[in-house]
Amino acid sequence: MLNIRRFGDLAAFGGVMVALTLNAAPALADGVLEGLHHHPTLASTITDNGDLNPYAVVVAPASVGKIRQGDVLVDNFNNLSNLQGTGGTIVDYNPSTRSMSLFAKLPQNLPQCPGGIGLTTAMTMLTSGWVIVGSTPSADGTTTTKGQGCMLVFDANGQLATVWSGSHINGPWGNMAVVDNGSKATLFVSMSGYDLPGPDKHDPATGQPVIVEKATVLRIQLAIPPGGLPKVTSQTVIASGFAQRADKDVFLIGPTGLALIGSTLYVSDAVQNRIVAIPDALTRTGSAGTGRTVTKGGMLQRPLALAATGNGHILACNGKNGQVVEFDPESGKQLAAQWVDSNQAQSPPGNGDLFGLAMAPDGVGFYYVEDDTNMLAKATP
């Protein structure tokens, strides 16, 4: 990663917007981004088997097995050939020792997971120690050979415990929103794989790969008996009809980030470049469709992972530049954007670099990954 995040450097680049604060309503709490100024890289996320392209970022909520509370788990979507949808490793970064270790490694193919293994941003760790991660696999690095995928459950020592698949699971993709009560948990997972063709099937009207409006958000309810495997007690599609499309460069674009505030689930609708709200997400029995638009365009440039800041705001990282955008979901106001990856090797800087992010447990700062350099980084005061 680059340390060229000073205002002057970026301004000199021309035409790029820099950490800019819009008219925030005075009643709002201070923005998170304005207190963050440095972006040190912490560790390489590349594993010994050569897996690349870090996706999910998860902060461990508890110390169980190999994992210490506050560790940062990151998975890889690509294998050593840099083919997308083929990565099968999860690494564990310990902030106190600053060491990165392998947490789990899967073979390329697993009979229980239709299509193979390609670990996505849909990852979480429960306080009971279970690590749950989605797979959206491919054989050739494109959606032409995309499999339906699955959800994989690891114990806290990185051993695969069980695999979930079925008609509700197809291309588990973006970061999860989770309510974890110990013996019970609710997971929200975006599914961006339904009927997705290869990237060469173009829409003549746009010249882009065809858009398929079949992506969903699935709510999975779990019962976790003491010492036992988490058990799926219900699966409910609470949102559906989101746009998704294949992409030669970034594999697929579809609903990605999820953040739960109260009972409202916020979803980044990457194709439409907007954030939507799904009301009554914890309790609704049916789909809310694509919900209500909260904010669209502006500083958003293909929003990917979302993270609730703890003060009522949400951070969204952009796919098409290296900025993280802070917005107030209540008012729909975009408050600020900050370059967390200003790598000028891409145009605009950081284009294609960001994906997963997670608030740091200290409440200030957040962790994020950089696909350009395969690094875990942190935004700090």
Binding site: N3, R6, P40, N82, N343, Q344, A345, D371, T373
Partner: protein, 424 residues
């Protein structure tokens, strides 16, 4: 690494005229003929010696590298014969004499194709190396040499970002020609390949160039000075510590060195679109002066602790210079002797966002380095560099090989003779 005196001040015509006459007469000369060449001739580099040529020899302007695979039918005796012939040929070529080529079949072909007739020896050096396959292949000790494989001659791990193409990777034997004239270099390898017919076939070849910058540090294709910070060739202690295999190595290897070659393709189209400021951040040096960021002149000390007004490091944390300097400070040093290459254009897909695809120059760096110990040298340095160096987003290693380059031969001896004697 370029010599202070212009190595290309040649005496065209004199030596080559005699060479040509010899060639026309079909007269092959024994290796001891090298002795008769004038040592003072600035176009001639010595062939025999404690170390092989082409390692500490001031870099010639061109290289032509060939890696060979041994034929499945080749016997140990065939390889010894080949090395004996290669040694004789190399000694002759380096003084501008033609190569003795044994007649093939009834109709004896011309001994030397004469294409360099009229050219000087051009400071030709030929450097020979042994790949892992000479000692062991697929678990088989094909030639009874396995026990002689040096411990320091370890396998290369996979490095992050490696996209090594098998057709540009590995090899059982290496012959590297370096010369100030590209045709002389190619001519030499062409003769060696001819001598290998039936015993070893070409696996890959690679041409490279290194322009003469006079006394200045040469620049690479990215426009930056490259090569500052090599071990001092004139300091025997440093060379023994970092470059030459010592008592830890088998007898035949002492005075030799382990060679790593990487064909590093550079996305020049991508690089050329970057601002100079960003390029400098990537390298950690100023482009024109070569000064480390925060310094004024090329050889100013590198201050890794210097901070900018925002409190961020002046030399970015993943810049090339910082990583190179940190590994060097930690005691890892290799002798670099790289060449640039330029092999036309072909369709490629860059491996970083935004994943540019299309016809691009197949050009970059033939990274070449020598070291006493592979694990402590290149592997140690590149484990870090391949993970963290900002330059990685412009560079992809698409080929590579490593060789044990044995000690030089004394007159009357052939390259690697001590290996075969030790294993007999």
């Amino acid at each position: 690494m370029t010599s202070a005196t212009d190595p290309r001040a040649t005496r065209r015509g004199f030596l080559t005229a005699t060479a040509g006459l010899a060639a026309l007469a079909g007269a092959g000369l024994p290796p001891s003929a090298a002795k008769t060449a004038s040592i003072a001739d600035p176009t001639v580099e010595p062939f025999f010696g404690r170390h092989q040529g082409g390692i500490v020899t001031p870099a010639q302007a061109h290289t032509y590298i060939a890696a060979f695979d041994l034929a499945p039918t080749a016997k140990r005796g065939d390889i010894e014969t080949l090395l004996r012939r290669w040694t004789a040929a190399a000694a002759a070529l380096s003084v501008g004499k033609p190569v003795e080529i044994p007649a093939e079949g009834a109709a004896a072909a011309e001994a030397d194709p004469s294409d360099v007739l009229g050219l000087s020896p051009s400071r030709l050096t030929l450097t020979f190396g042994f790949g892992p396959g000479l000692f062991e292949k697929d678990g088989a000790d094909r030639y009874g040499l396995r026990a002689q494989k040096p411990k320091a001659f370890v396998d290369m791990p996979h490095f992050p970002g490696d996209q090594l193409v098998p057709a540009r990777t590995g090899g059982d034997l290496l012959a590297q020609a370096c010369a100030d004239n590209p045709q002389v270099a190619f001519h030499a390898v062409r003769q060696l390949a001819r001598l290998a017919y039936g015993v070893a076939g070409i696996r890959w070849v690679q041409a490279g160039f290194a322009s003469d910058y006079g006394k200045a540090t040469p620049r690479n294709l990215m426009g930056f000075k490259d090569g500052t910070g090599n071990p001092a060739i004139g300091d025997p202690r440093e060379m023994d510590a970092f470059v030459w295999a010592g008592d830890e190595a088998p007898l035949w290897m002492r005075g030799g060195s382990y060679l790593v070659i990487r064909r590093a393709r550079i996305a020049l189209e991508h690089w050329d679109r970057m601002s100079v400021g960003f390029q400098e951040q990537t390298f950690g040096r100023r482009k024109l002066s070569g000064a480390p960021l925060g310094g004024k002149n090329e050889f100013d000390p590198i201050d890794l602790d210097a901070k900018d007004a925002n409190g961020d490091p002046l030399i970015p944390e993943n810049s090339h210079v910082r990583i190179a300097h940190e590994t060097s400070m930690a005691g890892a040093k290799v002798l670099r002797r790289s060449y640039s290459y330029n092999d036309g254009a072909n369709i490629t897909a860059e491996r970083w966002p935004p994943w540019r695809q299309g016809m691009e120059f197949d050009a970059g760096l033939i990274f070449i380095c020598y070291q006493r110990d592979l694990a402590a040298g290149f592997i140690n340095i590149f484990q870090k560099m391949s993970r963290f160096d900002m330059m990685n987003q412009f560079v992809t290693n698409v080929g590579g090989a490593h060789f044990a380059v044995p000690a030089g031969a004394a007159e009357g001896e052939f390259i690697g003779q001590r290996l075969f004697e030790a294993a007999s």
